[in-house]
Symmetry: C2
Subunit: 257 residues, 2 copies
DNA sequence: CGAGGGATTGAGATTCATCAATCTATGTGG
DNA sequence: CCACATAGATTGATGAATCTCAATCCCTCG
């Protein structure tokens, strides 16, 4: 990626966090790495960056010098058509990887944009093959995270291909709700911060923002859930998951450790 | 997987093919493995199997003792809803992997079914971690194949979420056409064997079989393509790809070798 | 206090699904 | 080799889900 397309990524000069102290390591790439090796693996995390909401992290058809781990915030991964239509492929949350490609020459096949104030850990792509060769824990973990992303992508295909508007929205919100709760270990909460606009939800579920609005109204009237002032409140988790055919267990990362 | 659910997989006792002679190795898991190591890696390919059309290879919610490489034939990978609706996630063709999971304990998150007379190479799941640890070429190749499957899955999401019926069908058929031509190196052919029913196409594109029928009729009348007696004939490749927003380059496996 | 982006609602058009019937190709048993 | 059975393909008619266009409202921010 040429440096001018990086203008949105602001390197954190001071107060970078240390991998040894990382509160979300159990979710991320260095889960499973021996404590004594963490200082060494951290060398491959060359920088942390902050990005403002709605700013691009990288763009389809361009190459990227980094792969990232989300440390804090929400990121939308999406593809666009020439017509301007946009499909959000997944929402990356703390611990999730962004922009890994085994082929360093290949250009990105999707774009990524911060949805909220976001902090990323950056790993120079060039050094990844070496890291994966020298530390098998990281290599295995990468495979796990890939497999989990794949499962999420496939489930999303099922939803969008075969479910109705209300089922898709129920699925989408259930998934994010459960992922957030797993990340922050707040099992008792019934509401989460939710920075997506109705248009974002539409781009993720394959619906127009107008139909999303009507669908959310229905869900509210059914007493299942409600979104207002960037907060998602779930009033009836079980019914919502059932409506969306969402299985809460599917958000777990099946880890070998 | 309990053995009784394996009844459709018929082990080939005689005339198993050798990895050293494999005509599709450039596409498959052992691409990049040193010639001298192939006899050793082949030990991990414990069996070849044949499966009749429409027979299940493995099923969602069950575990599988094997992961597979498609050696010959067409395989549908799909998920189903309680309502009975089915979403075909991808079509696996010769060289493609099936059923790899990093966590041996985890159950399959999708089902797989042969669409034609199919031959699979079986790799016992239990031995995969050892193979990946001992041969880094295989490990790297697995990562490449995963990344490629991920790209295909994400492109499919874009199609199904954002394109119209005719665009989706055009995309779907273009993709399979180009993949088959790449596999068999028949760049000049304008027709391929195509074992899917119209209902299969519908399950892959998120449409009903009736609407698929009408869409195919339109594509035929537009002079773009035609399916008859299990043969897909492309009359105007460029227009078809353009209509479906399909990029022929996307089917290439970006290989490091 | 004004501007602008998102949210909300209405009306009408379009796409696609559903239901139902017929047709065609393929394979099977007698 | 024929009669029948069956699955897939085709067409028509109708209705529901979702999109598009347009207007208004509301909230936030400068």
């Amino acid at each position: 990626m040429s440096s001018d397309s990086h203008i949105h990524l602001i390197p954190i000069e001071h107060k970078q966090t240390a991998c040894t102290d990382c509160s979300i390591r159990r979710l991320a790439l260095f889960h499973g790495v021996d404590e004594k090796d963490l200082d060494w693996t951290q060398q491959y995390r060359s920088n942390q960056f902050t990005i403002a909401p709605r700013k691009e992290i990288y763009r389809e058809t361009q190459s990227s010098d980094y792969m990232f781990t989300v440390y804090h915030g929400w990121v939308a991964v999406y593809k666009t058509l020439d017509s301007g239509k946009r499909q959000i492929i997944r929402i990356a949350l703390p611990g999730d990887m962004l922009g890994f490609q085994p082929d360093l020459q290949a250009v990105m096949t999707h774009s990524a944009m911060a949805l909220s104030e976001t902090v990323l850990c950056g790993f120079p792509s060039k050094a990844m093959p070496e890291l994966l060769r020298k530390n098998l824990s990281v290599a295995r973990r990468l495979t796990e995270l890939n497999a989990r992303d794949m499962n999420i992508c496939q489930s999303r295909l099922l939803t969008i291909g075969q479910q109705s508007a209300i089922e898709r929205v129920a699925f989408f919100c259930s998934e994010l709700f459960h992922r957030i709760k797993m990340i922050y270990n707040h099992q008792q909460d019934t509401a989460i911060h939710f920075p997506l606009s109705q248009e974002d939800i539409g781009d993720a579920t394959g619906l127009t923002k107008i139909h999303v609005n009507r669908t959310l109204k229905t869900l509210r009237e059914m007493g299942l859930m409600e979104i207002s002032s960037k907060t998602l409140s779930i009033h009836d988790v079980n019914s919502l998951c059932e409506l969306g055919n969402f299985n809460p267990d599917s958000v777990k990362i099946h880890s070998l450790y």
